[in-house]
Amino acid sequence: MEKLSQKRAPIYEALERFRRNRVVPFDVPGHKHGRGNPELVELLGEKCVSIDVNSMKPLDNLCHPVSVIKEAEELAADAFGADHAFLMVGGTTSAVQTMVLACCKKGDKIILPRNVHRSVINAMVLCGARPIYVNPDVDHGLGISLGMKREDVRAAIEANPDAVAVFVNNPTYYGICSDLKAIVDMAHEKGMKVLADEAHGTHFYFGKDLPVSAMEAGADIASVSMHKSGGSLTQSSFLLTGKGMNPGYVRQIINLTQTTSGSYLLLSSLDISRRNLALRGEQSFRMVTELAEYARAEVNKIGDYYAFGREMVNGDSIFDFDPTKLSIHTLDIGLAGIEVYDILRDEYDIQIEFGDLGNILAYLSIGDRIREVERLVTALADLKRRYKKDKTGMLSQEYIAPKVVMTPQDSFYAEKESLPLSETKGRICSEFVMCYPPGIPVLAPGEEITDEIINYIVYAKEKGCSMTGPEDEKIERLNVLV
């Protein structure tokens, strides 16, 4: 078959044909092109509800693609330089879970940094894999976790020759990349697969002068949040595989947990967003980088804020930096990042991606314009004028090395009791605790609770971080093993 042009968008085109044919629906969804739910049409618009349709022959089937979805997957694989691409409708969470489930079985060891997204450890609860954590390097001044050092990865591989996979963030939420190529070489030499979480790295595949993408670096499988920097609808995502993976098996794993009613709104948004990036991505991301560089320079001119960038690169644990990320250290104005995050929203009507104890992250993308960047910078200047105070007593977010006692699965399903937070010291936790976003666990199932962790949770709650994970929604109690 002749290769399709990146100018095509097979799913979108099929939906257009379908609409023109005015097919009478005696199938689900029951709103029947919106007629049965006028309020929904009022909210979403006629065009939107008319393409909210079911799988059918002319539109293909996400569980077993043979026509237009298959073509969309082939085009995506081509655009991303992958062997195979899968359209995902359960968020990048489901892509990440599929990566782990496709590479690890019960008892298998997987080498990974501890600053992973919760979905990675969730997948281990499901499959029973055993985490071998590599402590990421830490920048103590900024209070952020960095990438993994090559030597630390090598040591973990040598100490665990039976491990089946190495998991890498490419990049972290803050835009920091490990030396992915070197890690791929080390892992492949020992027959281990390399899994890359590229939730924040979609643009690496299209922009120039950006960090290396997982597929280019030779990783075996990667999860790409198309809905983050790629511009598709929330919850839509790509899973990419390289030569080392069997696509038929990966599809089976996806079908273990993914819906059989994949939304065509999500699928078509992936299709046209892929087309957009393939055709115009390079130029768009150059513009995003320029905006971010401008914002960094302007924020640093205000003083007391530190918008960090490529000067951080150290050749190892910060092997590369994603210049589209706008992360700003706020502790020197005497405010935690989460406090700045709240003030920006409540008083300036500016919503940023997240704030942690020492930093904020403003997410810039292909939808941003200079005028909004001016607002953000000006608001930060005004915020400093009004709120700047002494920073004594401010904690920064220190990385807390976990004490792993059991696998996530064994501890999650073990017999447990609920204790007040203050009485949990020394016990083994059976659930997650994390600030969301960024969703990187402070505690994961199977880890020992320490004073340091308890203090961190209390302080983060006090500063207004939104904590999630435990059964007790107020996070006053934790489930621990009996």
Partner: protein, 285 residues
Amino acid sequence: MEMWFSDIHTDGVKLSIRIEEQLFSSQSEVQRIDVLESKDFGKILVVDGDLMLTERDEFIYHEMITHVPMAVHPDVRQVLVVGGGDGGVVRELIKYDTIETIDVVEPDPLLVEVCRKYIPEIANSLTDDRVSIFHEDGLRFIRSKGDVYDLIIIDSPNPFGAGEGLFTKEFYGNCFNALHEDGIMINQNESPFYTEEAFQCQRMHKRIVETFPICRVYQAHIPSYPSGHWLFGFASKRYHPLDDLDKVAWKLRGIRTKYYEPRLHAGVFALPAYVEELLEDVERK
């Protein structure tokens, strides 16, 4: 041939003016600019489809946004006009020989050029020696300024579109910072009549009340603007708009005006009950 320009005031209300001739139309990097000629309103400046000013009634807006603070602050030397590329505010300001510098921040060079060409009676004021024009974003301009102005006049278009940043708390906060310790900030505060504008009116007032110790609102009747009933915000660090009004001193300056009058000054701060209520509603919170 009949040609009409309609300024859309709400989804269901518009003001239509019969047009004799379209004098100019072009898209700049920032916005679309049109100049129209009409019998009843004279020349009309239209930006992105919205009526900005008409030759016939612009004096009301420009006099009221300028002379009210000028009659209160006893010693204005440094002035900043944000927006105002049409030169209307500056034309009023240069009537005061005590003013030393007037900075005008107008992002769009084409707007200034077009106004100079088509409405020179208004825009020629911009050639005054005391005037410096900065073609940059208002937010960017203001955030590097501290303690430099006696008076800031925010002559911004509307809160939806390119000028949105000039209706924000961060902008008012940086204006506060750019003013001397006895400085005054005046903003056009939209109309209180239609629901959507009334909401913007409240929002602006709330942001300013949170920023300045003295905040009062005054009104004028501007026939070509939505509902014709227009508000201005008077925000000040020290001077009170009525208690510190010096009618005699202003009269002695011998400045000629067509709308502003020291006797009118006290009256324009007396607002209709529903407008008072609208404003008090956000002052309490």
